[in-house]
Subunit: 156 residues, 2 copies
Amino acid sequence: MSSHTPGFELPLRLLLAFRTLIEELHAELARQGHPDLRPMHGFVMQAIGPGGTTAVELGRTLGVSKQAAGKTIDTLERVGYVERTTDPRDSRRKIVRLTPYGLDALDRSARIFDALRARWAADLGEDRLQALESDLRRMTPGSLWRLDTPGWFGNL
Amino acid sequence: MSSHTPGFELPLRLLLAFRTLIEELHAELARQGHPDLRPMHGFVMQAIGPGGTTAVELGRTLGVSKQAAGKTIDTLERVGYVERTTDPRDSRRKIVRLTPYGLDALDRSARIFDALRARWAADLGEDRLQALESDLRRMTPGSLWRLDTPGWFGNL
DNA sequence: ACACGATAGACAACCTGGTTAACTATTTAG
DNA sequence: CTAAATAGTTAACCAGGTTGTCTATCGTGT
């Protein structure tokens, strides 16, 4: 009966696996000229996308307050990954766009993530990895970006 | 060739899956009389264990500074999950022990995690879930508790 | 026996990434 | 043309981390 894995291992392994991937990503990004990029910056830039966005919108897609989104944009702007321009058609809005440097980071991230996935595929077998991904997809909500996370996992 | 899942989905799904489980756990814990328990409290209590520990030791097993461990213990103490008693054999040390309330929370957490795992098993099939667990085990470091995490995922 | 180094804990100052609340400036709707 | 809604900023706060410093106690070597 209780030859089963204890239930608490699953979430821990999921978190550990996540952290491991992220650490590897950022180690590699640092090597490739992006030493100041933090994990959350990557996520936020993904969420901004090549099309640009605004603070309110970003907050909504990320599931945090507009103020939090604003602060994050501030720091991204300070490090040179995004820039703000005011919308000509609505002078309340400020459009946040990735800079070329930001796009470069995003690009490299995508490639590194692919490489990491390839490493998993090599270790586990492509079929097995696909099963894993499909199982996770099945057990998680569809929306990839609303991580909804105070601190990206943080509180609550 | 590139019919593959983009690499960035994997980490996201891992995080999402983790968060989903944790949210379900805490929703259920709240229902069962532990509305103030935060995710990290659960982890820390697991790490403390029934035997008790000290701040320095806890910091080591969690991979954070002793000061951070101390602060966490403070808040756990305030909410009534742990208590500090000074070690009679070494008056520098203060032994942190789970209170009955804390033990109850830990207990319920374990049961809820088992139930959640059972739900996954029902959805995916026990064999498939075991494959998933074993794959994750393979791709992650052995030490479950050293989450090493500023904010449990937070920064860096 | 005792001084000295190592250890446990506490405290302070600071960082990040969240939160609410309050305020300004603009746009849109009635 | 006024009133409500919306975008952004600022401020005060919280949690959980960091480092650095300080005190008290323990253990060891001469």
